[in-house]
Every structure is written in structure tokens, then in C-alpha cells.
């Protein structure tokens, strides 16, 4: 997204276009691996108010006054040119982290939902979220060596995906494979835009 020239006048230097892409999915599905295979990844710390559901999950005995929790996201940056930067945010997919997603999703180009065929249900909350919010997303099935392979149609129906959502197989360890997932997402966003569908989620 291009930047609006903000409150400061007289600043005429060009500011780069920033594209924000989310990488979501269950615990251990390969989000960090995917982000780090295409970019230099660094942990981004957020200290957020604890949501109601998390206060039920997080053990708070002895620290009852604790009202914030530290969540680390994988943050990757791909500098395409001086004027164009792609930011990747690898975010925990559990429903109790949704409070962070609304902000992450705002102004994002789209999302990659990563799935593992051995624990397919782990990505349901992510798919739910992006379907509800209307943001373009692709599903990337990370092909772990030891995991069984299934035909795409079987996985699509298990995930209850609509026909227009791309589903790809990938190996998050491979740069080329991770890159193809990102390209598929951007192409999907272009296709949706060309067909006149709304892209930016409403806040």
C-alpha cells in the first residue's frame, strides 16, 4: 500500500509501498520455516492485553494481577526495491490470539493459511477468520516427509473450501516452494480484484 503523506508537510521524499501478508496456521505447522525461507526472519514482540479466553487457558495462579501477555510473531521483510517492501507476519492461529489479528489483517493484501494433513483441524480457526473477514487467502499444505499425501479434492472437501480458494502443496523448507505460495496469493488477490470482489477487509 502506498503511504499517505502524513501530518508533516515539506517532506517530499518518496516513501515505499508496503505490502503486508499474514502467514497463519496451527502450532508447529511451519509458519516460521516458510517466513524464514523467503526472508530474513526476526521475532517481533507484542505485549497485549490478555483476552478473556486466554485468561482461562493461561495459568495465572500467583500472578493474578497480570493483565498482559507477551506474544512473539515471526516478522519477515522482503525488500523488492527502494519503493516496494513486502512484510510477512507469522501469527499464532489459535482462536485466543484473534485479538491480534484484527490489527494485523487491517490493510493486509491477504493471508497464507498453512495446514498439516496430520492435524488438519488446527487450521480451521484461521480459515474461519479469513472467510468471515473477506480477505483473500490461499491454503498451503506443508508436505512433511512423514505425513500421508491426499488428493487435493479430498483435502478441499475436508477443509470445506469454496472453489475459488487456491489450495497448494508446499515444502516450507524450500525457498522456491515458499515463494510460489506467496506468488499464488498475490495472483489470487489480483484475480479477485479483477473480478470486482472486495479486497480490503472493513475495520
Amino acid at each position: 500500500m502506498p503511504y499517505a503523506n502524513s501530518e508533516q508537510t515539506g517532506d517530499r521524499q518518496t516513501v515505499p509501498v508496503a505490502i503486508k501478508i499474514l502467514v497463519a496456521g496451527g502450532f508447529g505447522v511451519g509458519k516460521t520455516t516458510l517466513v524464514s525461507s523467503v526472508s530474513e526472519v526476526r521475532p517481533l514482540r507484542t505485549e497485549e492485553d490478555m483476552s478473556e479466553p486466554s485468561s482461562l487457558v493461561d495459568q495465572l495462579d500467583g500472578v493474578e494481577r497480570k493483565t498482559t501477555t507477551t506474544v512473539a510473531m515471526d516478522f519477515g521483510r522482503i525488500s523488492i526495491s527502494d519503493d516496494l517492501v513486502v512484510y510477512l507476519f507469522g501469527t499464532p492461529g489459535q482462536r485466543r490470539f484473534w485479538f491480534m489479528w484484527d490489527e494485523l489483517a487491517y490493510g493486509a493484501l491477504g493471508a497464507v493459511v498453512m495446514a498439516d494433513t496430520r492435524r488438519l483441524a488446527d487450521c480451521f480457526p484461521s480459515i474461519d477468520y479469513f472467510e468471515r473477514n473477506g480477505m483473500p487467502f490461499v491454503v498451503a499444505v506443508n508436505c512433511f516427509d512423514e505425513a500421508r499425501r491426499y488428493p487435493s479434492e479430498t483435502m478441499r472437501s475436508a477443509l470445506n473450501l469454496t472453489d475459488d480458494v487456491p489450495l497448494l502443496l508446499c515444502d516450507a523448507r524450500q525457498r522456491a516452494s515458499s515463494r510460489d505460495v506467496l506468488v499464488a496469493l498475490v495472483e489470487h488477490a489480483v484475480a479477485r480484484l479483477s473480478s470486482g470482489r472486495h479486497v480490503t477487509p472493513a475495520r
Partner: protein
């Protein structure tokens, strides 16, 4: 804005101790002042705290983390970049940046989502990613 310098109390309490809780760095505040700061907003230095009128007063209001942050801002980074560079939580960096903005030291360029509706820009992104 209060005239008293809250940082002095923080420094007195912690001395040279590095283990400072994040919200000690923000003098207990949990929300930044002024307009919302997006995590991919671009930050640029607007002017040096040493130059112009009121320099001594501005310097006395800033904490060491503000000054560290200012040094990193010269590389035209995003808010998220700054948080990882300084290894500070995003929320803390937002509050410190809002302080700097309030004093006219940095410009924060909020991204607008127009690029997401621009097929030309998206195609450019896809082409560039293919070359990765």
C-alpha cells in the same frame, strides 16, 4: 504533557540495571498519544532534537530509549522494523514514537490501503516475488 521528567524517576529506580519492565520505559502508559500508528507505518526523522528552539527542554523530556529509537529512525524503517531492531514490544515502540511525533521529531507515514486495489502494483509485487 507534564513538565516533570518521568524518566528521571525510572532511571533512579533502576540505575544501570538493564532488566527494566517494558512499561517502565513508557512511564506506565499503555496507549500512545495521538493518531493510531500502524505496524507497517514508515517512520522518518523530521528534525534533530538538538536543533531549533526549545532543544534543551525537549532533550530533558526524552528517555534513553527515545534517543535510541531516534537513531534507528534515520534508516527510514517501519514501526515493526524498529521494534525488532530495538528488541522492544510493539506497544512500547508505538508509545515512544508518539512521544517523538508530539515533539515534531519524527514523521509517521500511515499506510493507506489504496495499493491493494491497484492491479498494477499487485502485478509488480507478483513479478518481483517470482524472481526471488
Amino acid at each position: 504533557m507534564t513538565r516533570a521528567n518521568p524518566w528521571r524517576a525510572v532511571r533512579r529506580a533502576y540505575g544501570r540495571e538493564r532488566l527494566v519492565r517494558p512499561y517502565a520505559l513508557t512511564a506506565g502508559r499503555t496507549r500512545p498519544s495521538g493518531a493510531t500508528i500502524d505496524m507497517v507505518a514508515l517512520v522518518t526523522v523530521a528534525r534533530s532534537p538538538m536543533g531549533g528552539g526549545g532543544a534543551a527542554e525537549i532533550m530533558s523530556e526524552l528517555g534513553p530509549e527515545h534517543l535510541r529509537l531516534l537513531r534507528f529512525c534515520s534508516s527510514r524503517s517501519s514501526v515493526a522494523d524498529l521494534a525488532t531492531e530495538l528488541d522492544l514490544p510493539l506497544g512500547v515502540v508505538r508509545i515512544l514514537l508518539a512521544d517523538l511525533r508530539e515533539r515534531g521529531l519524527v514523521s509517521i507515514h500511515q499506510p493507506v490501503s489504496a495499493g491493494l486495489h491497484d492491479v498494477r502494483i499487485l502485478k509488480e509485487v507478483a513479478d518481483a516475488l517470482r524472481k526471488l
